[in-house]
Protein backbone atom coordinates (compact mmCIF):
# COMPACT_ATOMS: atom_id res chain seq x y z
CA UNK A 1 0.00 0.00 0.00
CA UNK A 2 2.68 2.51 0.94
CA UNK A 3 4.56 2.26 -2.36
CA UNK A 4 1.32 2.56 -4.31
CA UNK A 5 0.47 5.60 -2.25
CA UNK A 6 3.86 7.19 -2.75
CA UNK A 7 3.73 6.53 -6.49
CA UNK A 8 0.17 7.79 -6.77
CA UNK A 9 1.14 11.02 -5.08
CA UNK A 10 4.02 11.33 -7.51
CA UNK A 11 1.66 10.92 -10.49
CA UNK A 12 -0.77 13.52 -9.20
CA UNK A 13 2.01 15.90 -8.26
CA UNK A 14 3.62 15.60 -11.68
CA UNK A 15 0.38 16.32 -13.48
CA UNK A 16 -0.33 19.24 -11.21
CA UNK A 17 3.15 20.60 -11.78
CA UNK A 18 3.16 20.28 -15.55
CA UNK A 19 -0.59 20.56 -16.26
CA UNK A 20 -0.01 18.87 -19.58
CA UNK A 21 -2.60 16.20 -20.04
CA UNK A 22 -5.72 17.16 -18.12
CA UNK A 23 -6.30 20.69 -19.44
CA UNK A 24 -5.67 19.49 -22.99
CA UNK A 25 -8.14 16.63 -22.59
CA UNK A 26 -10.78 18.96 -21.15
CA UNK A 27 -10.32 21.52 -23.89
CA UNK A 28 -10.36 18.80 -26.52
CA UNK A 29 -13.69 17.54 -25.18
CA UNK A 30 -15.36 20.93 -25.30
CA UNK A 31 -14.03 21.62 -28.78
CA UNK A 32 -15.22 18.24 -29.93
CA UNK A 33 -18.74 19.03 -28.75
CA UNK A 34 -18.64 22.11 -30.95
CA UNK A 35 -17.37 20.00 -33.83
CA UNK A 36 -20.24 17.59 -33.30
CA UNK A 37 -22.74 20.43 -33.30
CA UNK A 38 -21.60 21.40 -36.75
CA UNK A 39 -21.00 17.85 -37.91
CA UNK A 40 -24.46 16.52 -37.09
CA UNK A 41 -26.19 19.89 -37.44
CA UNK A 42 -28.22 19.69 -34.29
CA UNK A 43 -28.77 22.29 -31.59
CA UNK A 44 -29.73 19.74 -29.01
CA UNK A 45 -29.41 15.98 -28.86
CA UNK A 46 -31.19 13.36 -26.86
CA UNK A 47 -31.39 9.62 -26.43
CA UNK A 48 -28.93 7.47 -28.36
CA UNK A 49 -27.42 10.42 -30.19
CA UNK A 50 -26.63 12.27 -26.97
CA UNK A 51 -25.17 9.13 -25.49
CA UNK A 52 -23.02 8.55 -28.54
CA UNK A 53 -21.66 12.08 -28.76
CA UNK A 54 -20.73 12.09 -25.09
CA UNK A 55 -18.96 8.74 -25.08
CA UNK A 56 -17.13 9.11 -28.33
CA UNK A 57 -15.81 12.46 -27.17
CA UNK A 58 -14.72 11.14 -23.78
CA UNK A 59 -13.12 8.11 -25.40
CA UNK A 60 -11.02 10.16 -27.79
CA UNK A 61 -10.04 12.57 -25.03
CA UNK A 62 -8.96 9.59 -22.96
CA UNK A 63 -6.85 8.27 -25.84
CA UNK A 64 -5.10 11.63 -25.98
CA UNK A 65 -4.38 11.47 -22.29
CA UNK A 66 -3.30 7.85 -22.27
CA UNK A 67 -0.52 8.68 -24.69
CA UNK A 68 1.02 10.98 -22.11
CA UNK A 69 0.88 8.56 -19.20
CA UNK A 70 4.43 7.31 -19.29
CA UNK A 71 6.16 10.27 -20.89
CA UNK A 72 7.83 11.59 -17.76
CA UNK A 73 8.90 8.12 -16.70
CA UNK A 74 10.83 7.56 -19.87
CA UNK A 75 12.71 10.86 -19.69
CA UNK A 76 16.08 10.44 -18.03
CA UNK A 77 15.15 6.83 -17.31
CA UNK A 78 13.23 7.98 -14.23
CA UNK A 79 11.25 4.75 -14.29
CA UNK A 80 14.42 2.74 -13.79
CA UNK A 81 14.96 4.49 -10.49
CA UNK A 82 11.63 3.06 -9.41
CA UNK A 83 12.39 -0.39 -10.81
CA UNK A 84 15.45 -0.45 -8.57
CA UNK A 85 13.31 -0.05 -5.48
CA UNK A 86 12.37 -3.12 -3.42
CA UNK A 87 8.67 -2.82 -4.19
CA UNK A 88 6.05 -4.97 -5.84
CA UNK A 89 5.87 -3.65 -9.37
CA UNK A 90 2.11 -3.99 -9.42
CA UNK A 91 2.16 -0.80 -7.33
CA UNK A 92 3.30 1.02 -10.44
CA UNK A 93 0.34 -0.17 -12.45
CA UNK A 94 -2.14 0.59 -9.69
CA UNK A 95 -0.76 4.07 -9.13
CA UNK A 96 -0.96 4.85 -12.85
CA UNK A 97 -4.46 3.45 -13.27
CA UNK A 98 -5.86 5.24 -10.21
CA UNK A 99 -4.27 8.52 -11.28
CA UNK A 100 -5.77 8.05 -14.74
CA UNK A 101 -9.23 7.66 -13.18
CA UNK A 102 -8.58 10.87 -11.23
CA UNK A 103 -7.57 12.71 -14.42
CA UNK A 104 -10.65 11.46 -16.25
CA UNK A 105 -12.82 12.62 -13.37
CA UNK A 106 -11.36 16.11 -13.54
CA UNK A 107 -11.82 16.22 -17.30
CA UNK A 108 -15.44 15.18 -16.87
CA UNK A 109 -16.04 17.90 -14.30
CA UNK A 110 -15.41 20.27 -17.18
CA UNK A 111 -16.70 18.26 -20.11
CA UNK A 112 -20.05 17.10 -18.75
CA UNK A 113 -21.34 20.56 -17.79
CA UNK A 114 -20.07 21.79 -21.15
CA UNK A 115 -22.03 18.99 -22.78
CA UNK A 116 -25.13 20.00 -20.89
CA UNK A 117 -24.75 23.63 -21.83
CA UNK A 118 -23.91 23.10 -25.48
CA UNK A 119 -25.91 20.10 -26.54
CA UNK A 120 -28.46 18.99 -23.97
CA UNK A 121 -31.79 20.48 -22.96
CA UNK A 122 -32.68 21.33 -19.33
CA UNK A 123 -34.89 18.27 -18.86
CA UNK A 124 -31.73 16.19 -18.98
CA UNK A 125 -30.69 17.31 -15.51
CA UNK A 126 -32.40 14.36 -13.86
CA UNK A 127 -29.99 12.14 -15.77
CA UNK A 128 -27.13 13.26 -13.55
CA UNK A 129 -27.21 10.64 -10.77
CA UNK A 130 -27.37 7.74 -13.21
CA UNK A 131 -24.78 9.41 -15.37
CA UNK A 132 -22.37 9.65 -12.45
CA UNK A 133 -22.63 5.91 -11.81
CA UNK A 134 -21.93 5.12 -15.46
CA UNK A 135 -19.06 7.60 -15.60
CA UNK A 136 -17.41 6.01 -12.60
CA UNK A 137 -17.53 2.47 -13.94
CA UNK A 138 -16.60 3.52 -17.45
CA UNK A 139 -13.67 5.61 -16.19
CA UNK A 140 -12.32 2.61 -14.34
CA UNK A 141 -12.61 0.54 -17.50
CA UNK A 142 -10.89 3.21 -19.59
CA UNK A 143 -8.14 3.60 -17.00
CA UNK A 144 -7.54 -0.10 -16.63
CA UNK A 145 -7.21 -0.70 -20.37
CA UNK A 146 -5.65 2.66 -21.15
CA UNK A 147 -2.83 2.21 -18.67
CA UNK A 148 -2.06 -1.22 -20.04
CA UNK A 149 -2.07 -0.04 -23.63
CA UNK A 150 0.01 3.02 -22.75
CA UNK A 151 2.54 0.75 -21.08
CA UNK A 152 2.71 -1.34 -24.23
CA UNK A 153 2.90 1.56 -26.62
CA UNK A 154 5.33 3.74 -24.69
CA UNK A 155 8.36 1.62 -25.35
CA UNK A 156 7.74 1.27 -29.07
CA UNK A 157 8.77 3.44 -31.95
CA UNK A 158 5.35 4.57 -33.09
CA UNK A 159 3.94 5.18 -29.65
CA UNK A 160 1.56 7.98 -30.62
CA UNK A 161 -0.09 5.82 -33.22
CA UNK A 162 -0.07 2.50 -31.47
CA UNK A 163 -1.75 3.78 -28.32
CA UNK A 164 -5.07 4.73 -29.90
CA UNK A 165 -4.81 1.92 -32.43
CA UNK A 166 -4.66 -0.68 -29.68
CA UNK A 167 -6.85 1.16 -27.24
CA UNK A 168 -9.90 1.85 -29.35
CA UNK A 169 -10.93 -1.74 -30.15
CA UNK A 170 -10.00 -2.81 -26.65
CA UNK A 171 -12.33 -0.18 -25.21
CA UNK A 172 -15.25 -0.91 -27.50
CA UNK A 173 -17.10 -3.00 -24.90
CA UNK A 174 -16.86 -0.05 -22.52
CA UNK A 175 -18.30 2.25 -25.17
CA UNK A 176 -21.04 -0.19 -26.03
CA UNK A 177 -22.05 -0.63 -22.41
CA UNK A 178 -21.69 3.02 -21.42
CA UNK A 179 -23.60 4.31 -24.43
CA UNK A 180 -26.42 1.80 -23.92
CA UNK A 181 -26.52 2.60 -20.22
CA UNK A 182 -26.86 6.35 -20.69
CA UNK A 183 -29.22 6.23 -23.68
CA UNK A 184 -32.43 6.02 -21.59
CA UNK A 185 -31.05 8.67 -19.26
CA UNK A 186 -31.00 11.18 -22.09
CA UNK A 187 -34.46 10.28 -23.38
CA UNK A 188 -36.32 13.32 -24.74
CA UNK A 189 -39.13 13.20 -22.21
CA UNK A 190 -36.88 13.03 -19.17
CA UNK A 191 -34.57 10.42 -17.71
CA UNK A 192 -35.73 6.84 -17.88
CA UNK A 193 -34.51 4.03 -15.68
CA UNK A 194 -30.82 3.23 -15.61
CA UNK A 195 -30.37 -0.21 -17.20
CA UNK A 196 -28.51 -2.16 -14.56
CA UNK A 197 -27.44 -4.92 -16.92
CA UNK A 198 -25.11 -2.52 -18.69
CA UNK A 199 -23.63 -1.42 -15.39
CA UNK A 200 -23.02 -5.09 -14.72
CA UNK A 201 -21.22 -5.44 -18.05
CA UNK A 202 -19.03 -2.44 -17.22
CA UNK A 203 -18.23 -3.86 -13.81
CA UNK A 204 -17.39 -7.24 -15.34
CA UNK A 205 -15.09 -5.63 -17.90
CA UNK A 206 -13.37 -3.62 -15.16
CA UNK A 207 -12.75 -6.69 -13.06
CA UNK A 208 -11.63 -9.06 -15.84
CA UNK A 209 -9.36 -6.66 -17.68
CA UNK A 210 -8.13 -5.24 -14.38
CA UNK A 211 -7.08 -8.64 -13.06
CA UNK A 212 -5.39 -9.58 -16.31
CA UNK A 213 -3.61 -6.24 -16.51
CA UNK A 214 -2.29 -6.65 -12.98
CA UNK A 215 -1.07 -10.13 -13.86
CA UNK A 216 0.77 -9.19 -17.05
CA UNK A 217 1.94 -5.65 -16.40
CA UNK A 218 5.13 -6.78 -14.66
CA UNK A 219 6.23 -8.37 -17.90
CA UNK A 220 6.18 -4.98 -19.56
CA UNK A 221 8.57 -3.59 -17.00
CA UNK A 222 11.20 -6.25 -16.74
CA UNK A 223 13.99 -6.71 -19.20
Amino acid sequence: MRPTNALLRKELRLEWRTREAVPAMALFSVTTFVVFHFGIQQDAVSGALASGVLWVTLLFAAMLGANRLFVSDVEDSALEGILLAPIDRTALYLAKAVSFVAFLAVVEIVAVPAFYVLLLGPEALDAVPGLLAVLLLADIGIAVSGTLVAGLATQTRSRDLLGPLLGLPLLLPVIIAAARATEPLFAPGGAGALPLKWLAVLALYDVVIGLIAVAVFDFLLED
Binding site: R157, R159, P169, F219
Partner: protein, 236 residues
Protein backbone atom coordinates in the same frame (compact mmCIF):
# COMPACT_ATOMS: atom_id res chain seq x y z
CA UNK B 1 10.63 -31.02 -36.13
CA UNK B 2 7.55 -29.53 -37.65
CA UNK B 3 8.04 -31.28 -40.94
CA UNK B 4 7.21 -34.66 -39.52
CA UNK B 5 3.87 -35.92 -40.63
CA UNK B 6 3.35 -32.82 -42.69
CA UNK B 7 2.64 -34.75 -45.83
CA UNK B 8 -0.03 -36.96 -44.32
CA UNK B 9 -1.55 -33.94 -42.64
CA UNK B 10 -1.70 -32.10 -45.94
CA UNK B 11 -3.30 -35.04 -47.67
CA UNK B 12 -5.86 -35.41 -44.89
CA UNK B 13 -6.66 -31.72 -45.20
CA UNK B 14 -7.06 -31.87 -48.94
CA UNK B 15 -9.30 -34.92 -48.71
CA UNK B 16 -11.51 -33.49 -45.99
CA UNK B 17 -11.89 -30.13 -47.70
CA UNK B 18 -12.76 -31.77 -50.99
CA UNK B 19 -15.31 -33.94 -49.21
CA UNK B 20 -16.76 -30.88 -47.53
CA UNK B 21 -17.10 -29.06 -50.83
CA UNK B 22 -18.64 -32.05 -52.53
CA UNK B 23 -21.10 -32.62 -49.71
CA UNK B 24 -21.90 -28.94 -49.61
CA UNK B 25 -22.75 -28.75 -53.26
CA UNK B 26 -24.39 -32.08 -53.86
CA UNK B 27 -25.64 -33.39 -50.57
CA UNK B 28 -26.69 -30.48 -48.41
CA UNK B 29 -30.22 -29.24 -48.91
CA UNK B 30 -30.81 -26.05 -50.83
CA UNK B 31 -32.11 -23.25 -48.67
CA UNK B 32 -35.56 -22.15 -49.69
CA UNK B 33 -34.99 -18.41 -49.19
CA UNK B 34 -31.36 -17.87 -49.94
CA UNK B 35 -30.64 -20.35 -52.67
CA UNK B 36 -27.18 -21.61 -53.37
CA UNK B 37 -25.49 -18.62 -51.70
CA UNK B 38 -26.53 -19.96 -48.35
CA UNK B 39 -23.85 -22.60 -48.81
CA UNK B 40 -21.25 -19.98 -48.01
CA UNK B 41 -22.34 -20.72 -44.47
CA UNK B 42 -20.29 -23.92 -44.66
CA UNK B 43 -17.16 -21.86 -45.29
CA UNK B 44 -17.92 -18.77 -43.24
CA UNK B 45 -18.87 -20.29 -39.91
CA UNK B 46 -16.16 -22.97 -39.68
CA UNK B 47 -13.61 -20.36 -40.68
CA UNK B 48 -14.82 -18.06 -37.92
CA UNK B 49 -14.78 -20.78 -35.30
CA UNK B 50 -11.29 -21.92 -36.24
CA UNK B 51 -10.01 -18.34 -36.37
CA UNK B 52 -11.33 -17.61 -32.89
CA UNK B 53 -9.88 -20.85 -31.54
CA UNK B 54 -6.60 -19.84 -33.14
CA UNK B 55 -6.66 -16.56 -31.25
CA UNK B 56 -7.29 -18.47 -28.05
CA UNK B 57 -4.39 -20.80 -28.88
CA UNK B 58 -2.25 -17.73 -29.45
CA UNK B 59 -3.13 -16.52 -25.97
CA UNK B 60 -2.32 -19.89 -24.42
CA UNK B 61 1.06 -20.05 -26.15
CA UNK B 62 1.67 -16.51 -24.96
CA UNK B 63 0.99 -17.50 -21.37
CA UNK B 64 3.44 -20.38 -21.75
CA UNK B 65 5.99 -18.00 -23.19
CA UNK B 66 5.77 -15.56 -20.30
CA UNK B 67 5.90 -18.32 -17.73
CA UNK B 68 8.85 -20.17 -19.18
CA UNK B 69 10.73 -17.53 -21.12
CA UNK B 70 11.13 -20.06 -23.91
CA UNK B 71 10.94 -18.11 -27.16
CA UNK B 72 9.60 -21.08 -29.07
CA UNK B 73 6.23 -20.54 -27.43
CA UNK B 74 6.31 -17.00 -28.73
CA UNK B 75 6.94 -18.34 -32.22
CA UNK B 76 3.91 -20.60 -31.91
CA UNK B 77 1.81 -17.76 -30.59
CA UNK B 78 2.86 -15.53 -33.46
CA UNK B 79 2.06 -18.10 -36.11
CA UNK B 80 -1.28 -18.97 -34.51
CA UNK B 81 -2.37 -15.34 -34.48
CA UNK B 82 -0.98 -14.76 -37.93
CA UNK B 83 -2.98 -17.68 -39.36
CA UNK B 84 -6.11 -16.58 -37.55
CA UNK B 85 -5.80 -13.10 -38.97
CA UNK B 86 -5.60 -14.48 -42.49
CA UNK B 87 -8.63 -16.65 -41.85
CA UNK B 88 -10.25 -13.57 -40.31
CA UNK B 89 -10.07 -11.75 -43.60
CA UNK B 90 -11.81 -14.72 -45.17
CA UNK B 91 -14.47 -14.65 -42.46
CA UNK B 92 -15.25 -11.01 -43.03
CA UNK B 93 -15.29 -11.36 -46.82
CA UNK B 94 -17.48 -14.47 -46.84
CA UNK B 95 -19.68 -12.91 -44.18
CA UNK B 96 -20.16 -9.86 -46.30
CA UNK B 97 -20.94 -11.88 -49.42
CA UNK B 98 -23.42 -14.00 -47.52
CA UNK B 99 -25.06 -10.92 -46.04
CA UNK B 100 -25.48 -9.36 -49.47
CA UNK B 101 -26.80 -12.53 -51.03
CA UNK B 102 -29.16 -13.38 -48.20
CA UNK B 103 -30.37 -10.04 -46.93
CA UNK B 104 -29.35 -7.47 -49.51
CA UNK B 105 -26.77 -5.51 -47.50
CA UNK B 106 -22.99 -5.80 -47.68
CA UNK B 107 -22.76 -5.42 -43.93
CA UNK B 108 -25.14 -6.23 -41.11
CA UNK B 109 -24.85 -4.43 -37.82
CA UNK B 110 -27.36 -6.72 -36.18
CA UNK B 111 -25.38 -9.87 -36.66
CA UNK B 112 -23.55 -9.88 -33.31
CA UNK B 113 -21.15 -12.64 -34.27
CA UNK B 114 -20.05 -10.75 -37.38
CA UNK B 115 -19.79 -7.41 -35.62
CA UNK B 116 -17.86 -8.71 -32.65
CA UNK B 117 -15.62 -10.62 -35.04
CA UNK B 118 -14.87 -7.36 -36.83
CA UNK B 119 -13.87 -5.73 -33.54
CA UNK B 120 -11.67 -8.68 -32.61
CA UNK B 121 -10.11 -8.56 -36.06
CA UNK B 122 -9.37 -4.84 -35.73
CA UNK B 123 -7.69 -5.49 -32.41
CA UNK B 124 -5.53 -8.36 -33.60
CA UNK B 125 -4.64 -6.44 -36.73
CA UNK B 126 -2.53 -4.31 -34.39
CA UNK B 127 -0.47 -7.33 -33.34
CA UNK B 128 2.03 -7.13 -36.16
CA UNK B 129 2.44 -3.33 -36.13
CA UNK B 130 3.08 -3.63 -32.39
CA UNK B 131 5.77 -6.25 -32.93
CA UNK B 132 7.33 -4.32 -35.76
CA UNK B 133 7.59 -1.21 -33.61
CA UNK B 134 9.83 -2.94 -31.05
CA UNK B 135 13.37 -3.64 -32.11
CA UNK B 136 14.72 -5.59 -29.15
CA UNK B 137 13.69 -9.17 -29.97
CA UNK B 138 13.23 -10.25 -26.35
CA UNK B 139 11.09 -7.29 -25.56
CA UNK B 140 9.16 -7.70 -28.78
CA UNK B 141 8.30 -11.26 -27.83
CA UNK B 142 7.33 -10.30 -24.30
CA UNK B 143 5.13 -7.39 -25.29
CA UNK B 144 3.50 -9.42 -28.02
CA UNK B 145 2.68 -12.12 -25.47
CA UNK B 146 1.19 -9.58 -23.09
CA UNK B 147 -0.95 -8.30 -25.94
CA UNK B 148 -2.01 -11.77 -27.03
CA UNK B 149 -3.16 -12.60 -23.50
CA UNK B 150 -5.18 -9.41 -23.06
CA UNK B 151 -6.68 -9.75 -26.52
CA UNK B 152 -7.57 -13.38 -25.80
CA UNK B 153 -9.46 -12.36 -22.65
CA UNK B 154 -11.09 -9.60 -24.61
CA UNK B 155 -12.73 -11.92 -27.16
CA UNK B 156 -15.47 -13.35 -24.91
CA UNK B 157 -16.08 -10.01 -23.16
CA UNK B 158 -16.50 -8.32 -26.50
CA UNK B 159 -18.80 -10.98 -27.87
CA UNK B 160 -21.00 -10.72 -24.83
CA UNK B 161 -21.24 -6.94 -25.01
CA UNK B 162 -22.05 -6.92 -28.71
CA UNK B 163 -24.57 -9.74 -28.36
CA UNK B 164 -26.38 -7.91 -25.58
CA UNK B 165 -26.39 -4.72 -27.60
CA UNK B 166 -28.19 -6.28 -30.55
CA UNK B 167 -31.45 -7.23 -28.93
CA UNK B 168 -33.31 -7.34 -32.24
CA UNK B 169 -34.06 -10.80 -33.41
CA UNK B 170 -32.77 -11.71 -36.79
CA UNK B 171 -32.73 -15.05 -38.51
CA UNK B 172 -29.44 -16.34 -37.24
CA UNK B 173 -28.60 -19.74 -38.52
CA UNK B 174 -27.18 -21.16 -35.31
CA UNK B 175 -30.08 -19.84 -33.28
CA UNK B 176 -32.68 -21.68 -35.34
CA UNK B 177 -30.51 -24.75 -35.20
CA UNK B 178 -33.25 -26.94 -33.83
CA UNK B 179 -35.02 -26.76 -37.18
CA UNK B 180 -32.05 -27.75 -39.29
CA UNK B 181 -32.04 -31.20 -40.85
CA UNK B 182 -29.30 -33.66 -39.98
CA UNK B 183 -27.68 -33.40 -43.41
CA UNK B 184 -26.81 -29.77 -42.73
CA UNK B 185 -25.08 -30.75 -39.51
CA UNK B 186 -23.10 -33.46 -41.25
CA UNK B 187 -21.77 -31.14 -43.92
CA UNK B 188 -21.11 -28.50 -41.30
CA UNK B 189 -18.99 -30.80 -39.19
CA UNK B 190 -17.05 -32.08 -42.17
CA UNK B 191 -16.41 -28.48 -43.17
CA UNK B 192 -15.37 -27.61 -39.62
CA UNK B 193 -13.00 -30.55 -39.55
CA UNK B 194 -11.56 -29.57 -42.90
CA UNK B 195 -11.03 -25.99 -41.80
CA UNK B 196 -9.35 -27.13 -38.59
CA UNK B 197 -7.04 -29.42 -40.54
CA UNK B 198 -6.29 -26.61 -42.96
CA UNK B 199 -5.35 -24.33 -40.11
CA UNK B 200 -3.15 -26.95 -38.48
CA UNK B 201 -1.42 -27.76 -41.75
CA UNK B 202 -0.72 -24.13 -42.57
CA UNK B 203 0.44 -23.57 -39.01
CA UNK B 204 2.90 -26.41 -39.30
CA UNK B 205 4.14 -25.23 -42.67
CA UNK B 206 4.86 -21.80 -41.34
CA UNK B 207 6.51 -23.12 -38.17
CA UNK B 208 8.70 -25.43 -40.24
CA UNK B 209 9.67 -22.60 -42.59
CA UNK B 210 10.55 -20.24 -39.74
CA UNK B 211 12.43 -22.92 -37.91
CA UNK B 212 14.50 -23.78 -40.95
CA UNK B 213 15.26 -20.17 -41.67
CA UNK B 214 16.39 -19.67 -38.09
CA UNK B 215 18.66 -22.71 -38.22
CA UNK B 216 20.20 -21.60 -41.50
CA UNK B 217 20.99 -18.24 -39.95
CA UNK B 218 22.57 -19.97 -36.97
CA UNK B 219 24.72 -22.12 -39.21
CA UNK B 220 25.79 -19.18 -41.30
CA UNK B 221 26.74 -17.32 -38.17
CA UNK B 222 28.77 -20.23 -36.97
CA UNK B 223 30.55 -20.36 -40.31
CA UNK B 224 31.60 -16.79 -39.72
CA UNK B 225 29.23 -14.78 -41.87
CA UNK B 226 28.09 -11.68 -40.04
CA UNK B 227 24.39 -12.14 -40.33
CA UNK B 228 22.33 -9.20 -39.18
CA UNK B 229 18.65 -9.98 -39.24
CA UNK B 230 16.66 -7.08 -40.64
CA UNK B 231 14.10 -5.47 -38.39
CA UNK B 232 10.98 -7.57 -38.56
CA UNK B 233 7.73 -8.27 -36.84
CA UNK B 234 8.31 -12.00 -36.84
CA UNK B 235 10.11 -13.73 -33.98
CA UNK B 236 13.56 -15.03 -34.86
Amino acid sequence: MYGKGLRSLSIATAVTLTAAFALGFFYAPMDADQGVMQKIFYVHVPMAIVALLGFVAGAIFAIQHLRSGDRRHDMRSYVAIHMSLILGVGVLVTGSIWAKAAWGHWWLWDEPALVSFLIVFLLYACYQPLRFAIEDPERQARYASVFAIVAGAFVPLNFMAVRMAEAKTHPRVLQDSSNLPGSVWLVFFVALLGMTLLYMTLWRYEMAAKNTRGQIRKLRRRLGADVVAPRSAAPR
